[in-house]
Symmetry: D2
Subunit: 140 residues, 4 copies
């Protein structure tokens, strides 16, 4: 995977993560599954960490597209809906909330048949200081 400056990201490369789009709070990416992604020596069933790593990376790309600075993951929940067995898995991410200190991002992971593989929701730290959002105005 290339950064905007053309540098490669080692772990994304190890897994074959490709980000194809990231703007305005939305991002998209995929992994072409192969035997190395399997959790099983006998059959191709992708390890849960494959869909997670794709979701986390694409979710972060969506957050970066609208927030200032680096946006590390604070927490993420992933729910597995069906096993990923072969072909391409694709993730689509959308920023649901963008606050002064955190962003909430939803990520859907599907397989080549459009079947849902996993659904994830992450909180990312943001660096921008946005005054006057409903959030910063006071909630407890």
């Amino acid at each position: 995977m290339d950064t905007p400056t053309g540098r490669r990201l080692p772990f994304a490369d190890l897994l074959g993560i490709e980000i194809t789009n990231a703007e305005d709070g939305h991002a998209r990416g995929h992994i072409d599954l192969s035997e190395k992604h399997s959790s099983n020596p006998n059959a191709m069933i992708a390890h849960g960490g494959v869909a997670y790593s794709l979701a986390d990376t694409v979710g972060g790309a969506a957050a970066i597209s609208v927030a200032e600075g680096v946006t590390p993951t604070v927490d993420m929940r992933i729910d597995y809906l069906a096993p990923a067995t072969d072909g391409r898995i694709e993730a689509v991410a959308e920023v649901r909330r963008l606050g002064g200190s955190v962003a909430v991002v939803d990520i859907e992971v599907t397989d080549g048949d459009g079947e849902h593989v996993a659904t994830a929701r992450g909180t990312y730290k943001t660096g921008g200081n946005r005054s006057g959002t409903p959030w910063t105005e006071g909630r407890n």
Copy 2:
């Protein structure tokens, strides 16, 4: 990583995950970090998917140690506490609840200095007999 029958697990091997213990609802494992785990081309900061994949694998090993059959992950939440920068990260998992259909497992990930890197909590499906689980048949 070897299975009980000596077969290797491809994704665990790709990441260098080693499980060193799994019995009575507890499990332990680690990854020796190297450049391939980095999310960053300039500095060694492990991608969030590294700690997650370790946590998911060690948590599953704890579940398998007390539940019958395959125990696919239903959902997992991970909270990142500090960046993992080098050396070994270790995960310790403990089954918190074991029911007829699901198990709840807590996993703590620390670095070589004993510093907390992440804390995760997963729900794993339990109870199927080894053949013909929904997971292997096409999860439902």
Copy 3:
């Protein structure tokens, strides 16, 4: 809140939860906010437990509409998107996955202006017959 047999549910009544629809894996309900829901003695800002309790109840109604028997909540994650300050908050739930042992349900909570207040995702146990579930016997 009335059950199908016309009996009232005490905690739902205490909070003013009304379920208006539940069929085919979808459900809808609301709470009309008043001072008792506030977390704050000086201003009406609903306590986080209000949106949560609504989400959990409506999510359970969606699960019950397609699963047999009682469907206790296994786990739930809620993300708060904006404060709920007055008027009606409404929840819409949709079953995302229905398996033999668990269902995954998404719930969106909005306020009277259609603004998102919270988004939640729960795992509910499914599959038991109505009598003798682990929940009623002493959950396992």
Copy 4:
């Protein structure tokens, strides 16, 4: 429930939440269960929102004890371990991570027999600006 200035908090009063201690990142509180907390017209089984509301409130008290300003809940995950049927449920909260923008808090809910009822983990927004934590130094 009294605030430090002696004012009452409506929703905490409605549910009977009492906070008995909050300092140095730890807090403790309880609810004495009665019929109003039940999700069931026939038997006393506390609604999931009862343990959640207690956990959220005690977790927030732990966060406030070490963070500056108001600490609204960003997100929370709760896992139910056993039904709460009567007597007192108690929550103990501990801040696991305190960063410049968010705090992670663990909360354990037990019943009068010391049995685990639920375990929760929340992210709370914090207002303090703490420079030089591992978190703010860069993680992605």
